[in-house]
Symmetry: C2
Subunit: 234 residues, 2 copies
Amino acid sequence: MPLYRRLRETIAGKITKGEYKPGEALPAEVEIARLYNVAPGTARKAIEELVNEGLLERRHGAGTFVRRPNFNNSMLRFFLFRGTKGKTLTPESRIVSRSVESASEAVAGHLNLPPGEKVIHLNRLRLWEGAPRLLEDIYLPFTLFHPIIDLDESVIGPLLYPAYEIHCGQLVSFVKEEISVTDATADDAAILGLGAHEMVVNIDRLAMNPSRIPIEWRRSHGEARRFHYQVDFS
Amino acid sequence: MPLYRRLRETIAGKITKGEYKPGEALPAEVEIARLYNVAPGTARKAIEELVNEGLLERRHGAGTFVRRPNFNNSMLRFFLFRGTKGKTLTPESRIVSRSVESASEAVAGHLNLPPGEKVIHLNRLRLWEGAPRLLEDIYLPFTLFHPIIDLDESVIGPLLYPAYEIHCGQLVSFVKEEISVTDATADDAAILGLGAHEMVVNIDRLAMNPSRIPIEWRRSHGEARRFHYQVDFS
DNA sequence: GAGTGGTCTAGACCACGAG
DNA sequence: TCGTGGTCTAGACCACTCA
């Protein structure tokens, strides 16, 4: 494996371990080169890859900073939940249930855990302007996230990823999502206030830390009619 | 604008104009550097950006090649149209109608044309294993695509983008897509064989040439139940 | 074996930001 | 003004492909 890639992994590892924290500046490029005994161009290439991956952020003249990806309102990427004044709002969040379970085969598979390993299961309802819009089932490896179990909901707040970072030292840097459309169940329809024959969009998300180790799996679903998404590619 | 970026645009322009054709090798990096009077590292950086954009493809030891993006079966990215044996199939295509029209405001806006400019409008039906699965309305600037109007459908074949390339010299390199879910119209339901209260997924696609000039706009729609999509990001 | 891209190095100079 | 990242240059050596 080339030098610049090993250096990239080393730096990603330091971010995972919290040695470089989100918002903080890394040492200057020339300093990194000196620290790791590589040429400046090599350090630069390692940093460049991390920038392309979204882990770091360069600010010309200021430095290179650890980025904190903004997945918080990320369901806004998928659904049209505009405020009445067109403003972007952070949704209200209600944790309906919290429990520790043995991972099902599916969940263990997604999180790359041994079968039967303990996981935290959260069931959560999210509301925009008071209206229930999204249902979520969230699974977390117990060993990494056990502080979540006993935290007061008001301490957790409406967004989980900052809570993961503050209370469990876990940073989400990558996500993989799968989207499908199915009939709403009777329960879904009741909670989301849907009429008969309505459909829901399901978003299955696997969230990973800076070293690309899976740390959360969740399924969210909301009214299909409100779904809207944009892709660019080549 | 930095040198390597101007060089990138120059090369992208040559691909647009057909001076470098899909599948063909570019001159070697050192040769490009010599041709354009830049340092090898600068040529390399220009090429690197084009590779990241998907316009070029490097093969170690062999050369750098113009890539032909594969948007042909691209609706397979969105819908579960597996063959009965799980094989990937090219769908059958039927052009239902072909006409020359004045661009509506919406179409002119998408294609960045003056209002009222002439466009070709194709209405197309796509079938997988004989079953109608996708309806498409396709809009093309008449000036660039006029040969399409008179071509026999058997000459065009089941895939449009190769036809654009062969008969109109137009290469599609980038696409932008927007996805939403709506009720099926009665017509849609009849053609796609949907039951009552079914929904469709709409995919609005803007296709661009290597210089990112819009050259096609289309709206496709198919049964929501069959929709399935995967995203990675950070 | 000849030619290609891939890695790594070294250093000069510029443009930007923050104090 | 100083330190940062951004650009551009130059060249050595390696790894791979292909005839």
